[in-house]
């Protein structure tokens, strides 16, 4: 379960980096990529939640961090739609949280 979560979250991270490059250049953030990023991230979080439920030892703090990052991502998406450009500060915080969570998850997986 964790391995699958790591793979889809890694895909989400790659797409997230791509989105950030558009946002940093103040270019239109492609919504197709944003939706795909969101879909991968949501799938990864669902897998982590399932792991939380079924596994005796699960990365629960990391899962919570991912959920907080996901809420931030949803706000970035909504603000981008409403205001025409992604809020850079919030997008950066969202990305940073996700990277930290991903690193923690990878560490947890490798030390299992």
């Amino acid at each position: 379960m964790l391995a699958a979560a790591l793979v889809v979250l890694a895909c989400a991270a790659l797409l997230g980096f791509a989105l950030l490059t558009f946002a940093l250049r103040r270019k239109h953030v492609p919504k197709g990529v944003a939706l795909l990023h969101g879909a991968f991230a949501a799938t990864g979080i669902v897998l982590l939640i399932i792991d939380w439920i079924v596994a005796p030892r699960a990365p629960r703090g990391t899962t919570l961090l991912f959920i907080i990052a996901a809420i931030g991502g949803a706000v970035v998406f909504a603000k981008d739609l409403k205001e025409g450009s992604a809020p850079l500060a919030l997008a950066s915080v969202h990305g940073l949280l996700a990277i930290i969570a991903f690193a923690l998850l990878l560490g947890f997986f490798l030390t299992q």
């Binding site: 558009f22 270019k27 239109h28 492609p30 919504k31 197709g32 990529v33 944003a34 939706l35 795909l36 981008d80 739609l81 409403k82 025409g84």
Partner: protein, 489 residues
């Protein structure tokens, strides 16, 4: 392309707004809704200014069918039967109010009372016919079986008497000429300050106690747009080499849906046919819509003399009822939208309702059509489908695909292509010049699509439309599509 109503209605242009203004009510949109509302408010003694982006009546009013009727054609199945009598009464009263204005102001608009006839091709009652009959019954309208006096294949039909037809553009021109208020043409509203009740135009700011958004689709990003579907519908008028069609509004309820009426103008009798509706921006070649209408005219009325072609946009509410009233419960911004294809009559209904809001008069329709109302359960599938459809459009926005070379476009051709990850909408005009703008709609960032028949960029999400050069034509977008250089910077 222009409608037969525009051909038959001439009016001197009015000056745009060039200064700041303070009024009691600023009305955005100079169609039937805005002008009838202005009329009611001006006669309540209020100072009113009408701001029209183009010319009076040039939007949906001047591109409509010119039919007025109590029953609704739009989604009769979705209208709660307990509301039918209230809604249909209000619509019948609105038709009476228009007639009273035509007579009081002596407006030469070809006003005629006539029957509203719906028919099916089948001799068996179809679902659509039964729904229309059921709604008429619930609204206590007398519907009688009838025959259809047109060269179309009609099986079953029923008629409701005492409906009406006119030239809608001549009506609004006549109404505008009589109004004791300021009317500005060529004055698009570029921003709205909801809190201060202030509208911005290119050359002046208007402060008001109330702002009425009578521009069909309210501007800006509103939850309402998630509850409405934008449709385009096409019209054609052909000269007949015979006597005029009998007065009447004739609707075929079977697919392909057609609305048929006659109109005499310029010493010729015409048949007017409307149909081929589709969600804005979601078909590949809109020229097919005109071709289908023209084939219908040719096959049934034996004429190729298509003299006028036009199209119009309408917004269909998920629960079948329009949204009329305050934008939010405490807002001084009022809206009237979601009329579907029943807009002329609903426009008159809305004008009356909005003037009642401002004059603080009770109106039983206000609660029913409240823009903040919770959607009825039977509207939820439609709202969800609309949401999914918008997401699908977002999913089309992938960079680095749609590669192409705009210089290969022939005159009259257009394409969305990718340049360095950015979607560009390119059109080569008849002079051979490339017009390039961002393909990202300024409303909610969907990617626009080319409308081949009308040569416009149309947004498939919420129906904003833009000229090839990017200027907003209609829809919820405030801002033009920004221009892009023909060569990368």
């Amino acid at each position: 392309m222009r409608s037969i109503w525009k051909a038959a209605a001439q009016c001197n242009p009015r000056a745009p707004l060039t200064r700041d203004l303070t009024v009691d009510v600023a009305i955005v949109g100079g169609g039937i809704t805005g002008l009838m509302c202005a009329h009611a408010l001006a006669y309540d003694g209020l100072k009113v200014a009408v701001l029209e982006a183009r010319r009076i009546g040039e939007g949906s009013t001047g591109n409509s069918t010119g039919n007025l009727y109590a029953l609704v054609g739009e989604r009769p199945r979705r209208i709660e039967r307990s509301h039918a009598e209230t809604v249909l009464n209000a619509r019948a009263e609105a038709v009476d109010r228009i007639e009273a204005l035509v007579r009081a102001l002596d407006i030469d608009c070809g006003w005629v009372r006539c029957p509203w006839v719906v028919y099916t091709h089948s001799t068996q009652p179809t679902k659509a016919l039964l729904q229309a009959e059921d709604l008429a019954r619930a609204g206590r309208l007398h519907a009688r079986p009838t025959s259809v006096p047109l060269p179309v294949s009609a099986g079953l039909a029923f008629a409701v008497e005492n409906q009406a037809q006119f030239n809608p553009l001549r009506f609004v021109h006549g109404l505008a000429a009589s109004l004791p208020c300021e009317i500005y043409e060529g004055t698009p509203v570029t921003a709205l300050d909801d809190e201060r009740c202030r509208v911005h135009t290119p050359a002046g700011i208007v402060d008001a106690r109330y702002v009425v958004l009578a521009s069909h689709a309210p501007k800006g990003m509103l939850a309402l747009h998630g509850e409405m579907e934008p449709y385009r519908e096409y019209g054609a008028a052909a000269r007949l080499a015979r006597e005029a069609l009998p007065p009447g509004i004739f609707w075929s309820l079977d697919e392909p849906y057609r609305s048929i009426r006659g109109y005499s103008y310029d010493n010729a009798n015409h048949v007017v046919v409307v149909g081929e509706s589709h969600w804005v921006g979601r078909i590949d070649d809109t020229r097919v819509c005109y071709a289908e209408l023209e084939a219908f005219v040719r096959n049934h009325f034996g004429t190729d003399a298509i003299a006028y072609r036009w199209s119009a946009q309408n917004y269909r509410a998920a629960d079948g009822l329009p949204y009329v009233g305050r934008l939010h419960p405490d807002s001084r911004v009022l809206v009237a939208t979601g009329f579907g294809a029943d807009g002329l009559t609903y426009g008159a209904v809305s004008a009356h309702m909005l003037s009642d809001v401002i004059a603080e008069r009770p109106n039983p329709m206000l609660r029913l059509l409240d823009p903040s109302r919770l959607p009825h359960a039977r509207a939820l599938p439609g709202i969800m489908a609309e949401g999914v459809a918008v997401l699908k459009q977002f999913a089309r926005d992938i960079p680095w695909i749609d590669r192409g070379d705009p210089t290969s476009l022939a005159p009259g051709e257009a394409k969305v292509f990718d340049r360095s990850g950015e979607k560009i909408a390119a059109f080569r005009n008849d002079r051979g010049e490339l017009e390039m703008v961002s393909a990202v709609c300024t409303h909610m960032q969907c990617i626009v699509r080319w409308n081949t028949a009308e040569r416009t960029w149309d947004c498939p999400c919420h129906g904003s439309r833009f000229e090839p050069g990017g200027r907003v034509i209609e829809g919820p977008a405030w801002h033009d599509l920004p221009a892009r250089p023909a060569t990368p910077e």
